[in-house]
């Protein structure tokens, strides 16, 4: 099956539109200039690559601009352009949407956070905070351009945009999507600008990727989206030729350090090789590498080593360039913008230059292009690496040049373990049904959590509380499955998909307040990496040695369900053998009194917090390891809107089944299929407390009840405003075994 790229949309500091961006990249234009968006006293540099003249009001409904962000505006414009070029429209057939990013509406909300936090009692719901959650970008694209069918928001720091495209490819290969628009977007904000400054990662002058005198990156902003379709679907609507094909992808984590890449680029090389293997291509087939090339001393030498390791002697031939010398580092958008540029490089037969590169660093010996170079480009590899060591490579190819990749058979997914940390402590695979038993409501606010009881705090010293809660939940889930991620006999790298509805709200607030109260030069370099939404899962990956796919998702009060469903999607098509999935939610006055009511709606019950990790595995892989799963995951779904008819495809329940939810009520607009209408409904919220991750506790409770023979199946349903997820967990029992129905 070929995956066709049929549309591209780009908003970049070089212009609005994919074509104009590529024209100016090839012309060697550099977009750096004096920052106009904000000014903070004592900033050491004011250089940035801004998208000029852009405001949220351009795309927001009349009178509602305060609740929209510049990131929304860039995304909406890029998605519209991509859909228009592809000639598809959401009103004419189902289109899925995946948005990668790191900051969403941080620029619009970071001052408010600092302001509101001065007096905890005065925190109140503000509509302007609607743009704070990572998922708000996708929500606003859906509102402005939609209706989209399946929607995801992903974050793996600076590889977010690439991972959005990777997930889109997985959906198409799985046969569940006939059209996906996927990419990334990030607007400049004070938090990232001062944060990278604190890390001494910013060059006060225009940056110099791979140059001997390179002194750091420049920040940029932008958005890019690609329309991806299976060839058959695209042909069926009359398209005869794509712009290019997405033929390969690889993803993995370094499990090394939160900000510094592995010096020798071992994981980056592994991921690049995986992308080639997926495409069934060899280094000789690749004509160009669109490098991550940030111009930081560590990234560029690591990447050069990785490219040489992956390409061997072919590294002398393959042209390498980085667009970051022209548009800066656009963070969560970078992987998507560079994917778009890779596609246009193939289509135009011209490789963009690395501007700023004058004297190649001897540590970066590659075939660099320092001016636009015409070439017959059959295939391009695009690299993206993020904080936490989250590496992703994508391979795009000219249409019909290479053999069509085979589609692997869809695989069954099982659950082998689950754990939570919440009001009842740390509970393992067979214990979480405690959340279904009658008992007192939890005390409001933070749960008891003594990190030293569960973690080596010397080794975990960089992990903030969310990172520690995540690591404890995943560690317990792995332990209950007797799974040591560092054990090579597992035969696969363990990955993790875990997010938080609102990210590191209190951490971001404290970071901004410090800047305002003490000055920019006292921005904390150690705290900054903990503010990216993928930080908790990234830290957990480093602490536990998880080297498979590692990224965060965010989807308001159904983030845990979103993570599990996303992990199941990936395992089903072979993008991972073992994945931990769940969420981490922390108690915070800002969430309880502002973000929660504004974004999730008013909640009944006691607000609490906690983390969950559900361990999913390919059934064939679990069998080969001799593992007996806790349950099967034969069916899952997700929806946007009220969810009418969303559960119609659910298999019929066995005799002893239950519907389990995190929150107390079922979605009001959701109609249960007749077979499920009489099945008892139970909720964990009375014991777990109310928080955006309660669904993870419902899944863990369901698994324990099934594992202990109390249930034969559980339909876990999670819902939040305008969205929901459902997944069916069933017992692994033969009919004559005790406990079967």
């Amino acid at each position: 099956m070929r995956i066709w790229v049929t549309g591209i949309g780009v908003v970049s500091p070089l212009g609005r539109g994919a074509g104009v961006t590529m024209d100016r990249l090839l012309a060697g234009d550099r977009a750096f200039g004096e920052l106009s968006l904000f000014n903070l006293p004592e900033m050491r540099t004011r250089l940035a690559a801004e998208v000029r003249g852009l405001s949220a009001a351009e795309v927001a409904p009349e009178g509602d601009a305060e609740a929209w962000s510049r990131t929304d505006a860039m995304s909406v414009l890029a998605v519209r352009e991509a859909l228009a070029q592809a000639g598809v429209a959401p009103t004419r057939g189902p289109i899925d949407l995946i948005v990668g990013g790191t900051t969403a509406g941080m620029y619009e909300t970071e001052d408010l956070l600092a302001e509101l936090s001065r007096d905890a009692d005065a925190i109140k719901p503000l509509r302007a905070m609607l743009t704070h959650p990572l998922s708000s970008t996708a929500d606003h694209v859906r509102a402005a351009v939609g209706p989209f069918r399946r929607v995801r928001s992903v974050c793996s720091a600076c590889s977010s945009g690439a991972n959005a495209l990777l997930l889109a490819a997985a959906w198409i290969r799985a046969g569940v999507s006939r059209c996906v628009v996927a990419g990334g977007a990030d607007g400049l904000c004070r938090l990232t600008y001062t944060g990278f400054g604190a890390l001494s990662a910013v060059d006060p002058n225009p940056c110099r990727p791979f140059d001997k005198r390179r002194a750091g990156l420049n920040l940029g902003e932008g958005a890019a989206f690609l329309v991806l379709e299976p060839e058959e679907a695209s042909r069926a609507r009359g398209v005869t030729r794509p712009i290019a094909e997405l033929v390969g992808w690889g993803v993995g984590a370094e499990a090394h350090h939160i900000t510094n890449p592995e010096r020798e680029g071992r994981t980056a090389a592994r991921v690049m090789q995986a992308a080639l293997a997926k495409a069934r291509l060899s280094p000789a087939d690749i004509d160009h590498v669109n490098a991550h090339g940030t111009a930081t001393p560590l990234n560029d030498s690591m990447e050069a080593a990785a490219i040489r390791a992956c390409f061997g002697p072919e590294a002398e031939r393959v042209l390498v360039s980085s667009v970051k010398g022209q548009i800066g580092h656009t963070l969560g958008a970078a992987g998507a913008i560079e994917a778009a540029v890779s596609v246009m490089t193939i289509a135009r037969g011209e490789v963009p230059p690395t501007m700023g590169l004058e004297e190649v660093d001897p540590a970066c010996p590659l075939a660099h292009t320092t001016r636009a170079t015409k070439a017959n480009v059959r295939a391009v590899m695009s690299n993206s690496f993020g904080f936490g060591g989250t590496d992703t490579s994508l391979v795009f190819a000219a249409p019909d040049v290479f053999a069509a990749p085979e589609v692997p058979a869809r695989r069954s997914v099982v659950v082998v373990s689950a754990a939570t940390i919440g009001p009842l402590g740390v509970l393992g695979a067979r214990e979480n049904d405690a959340y279904l038993e009658p008992g007192p409501a939890p005390a409001p606010g933070p749960i008891h959590f003594q990190a030293s009881e569960h973690l080596d705090v010397g080794r975990a010293r960089r992990l903030d509380r969310a990172g520690r809660l995540s690591a404890v939940a995943i560690q317990r889930a792995l332990g209950d499955a007797n799974l040591d991620p560092l054990d090579p006999s597992i035969g696969a790298e363990v990955g993790a998909i875990l997010g938080a509805a609102f990210g590191s709200v209190d951490g971001s607030t404290a970071f901004m307040r410090r800047i305002y109260e003490k000055g920019v030069k006292f921005a904390s370099p150690a705290d900054f990496p903990n503010l990216v939404p993928s930080s908790p899962v990234g830290h957990a990956s480093i602490y536990l040695g998880l080297r498979g796919p590692v990224f965060a998702v965010a989807d308001l009060g159904v983030t845990a369900e979103c993570a599990v469903v996303t992990a199941a999607d990936l395992i089903a098509v072979g993008e991972g053998e073992v994945l931990a999935a769940g969420s981490v939610e922390e108690a915070s006055p800002m969430i309880e009194r502002c973000l929660g009511p504004v974004c999730s709606g008013e909640a009944r019950g006691v607000r609490s917090e906690g983390a969950s990790a559900i361990l999913l595995e390919a059934e064939e892989h679990a069998k080969a390891r001799g593992i007996r799963p806790l349950a099967h995951l034969p069916w899952w779904t997700s929806w946007r809107g009220a969810g009418e008819g969303a559960l119609d495809g659910a298999p019929e329940p066995p005799k002893r089944a239950a519907i389990l939810t995190g929150q107390e009520d079922l979605p009001p607009g959701l109609c249960l299929p007749e077979a499920w209408a009489a099945v008892p409904h139970r909720a964990v919220a009375p014991r777990s407390g109310v928080h955006e991750g309660a669904g993870g506790f419902a899944m863990a409770a369901a698994l324990a009840a099934i594992a202990r023979g109390e249930l034969d199946a559980a339909l876990v349903v999670g819902h939040a405003p305008e969205r929901g997820y459902a997944l069916l967990l069933t017992a692994e029992r033969s009919p004559d075994e005790p406990g079967s129905s």
Partner: protein, 88 residues
């Protein structure tokens, strides 16, 4: 400034700012290397420590090769702070 006092304050600062949980200021050897083998600190710690030293003592740590010798040990860092304060 009394160098012994600066060393003590510096070690307290390191424990809190670098989250050296489970360690007491007295566990830190004044002469041991801060980075790599000794305390096992890395470049991210160096940035955090430089920022904290400036905040606490009002002394800037220069970047580049000079920083390497200043960050050699608690002793070297305390000496830098004391002499910078005396010169101010």
């Amino acid at each position: 400034m009394d160098p012994a006092d600066v060393r003590q304050k510096l070690k307290e600062l390191m424990v809190t700012e670098l989250n050296l949980e489970g360690k007491e200021p007295t566990d830190i050897d004044d002469a041991a290397p801060l980075f790599g083998s000794g305390l096992g600190l890395d470049s991210l710690d160096a940035l955090q420590l430089a920022m904290s030293v400036e905040e606490k003592f009002g002394v800037r740590i220069p970047e580049g090769d000079d920083a390497r010798s200043i960050f050699a040990s608690v002793n070297a860092l305390a000496d830098h702070i004391v002499s910078a304060k005396a010169a101010a």
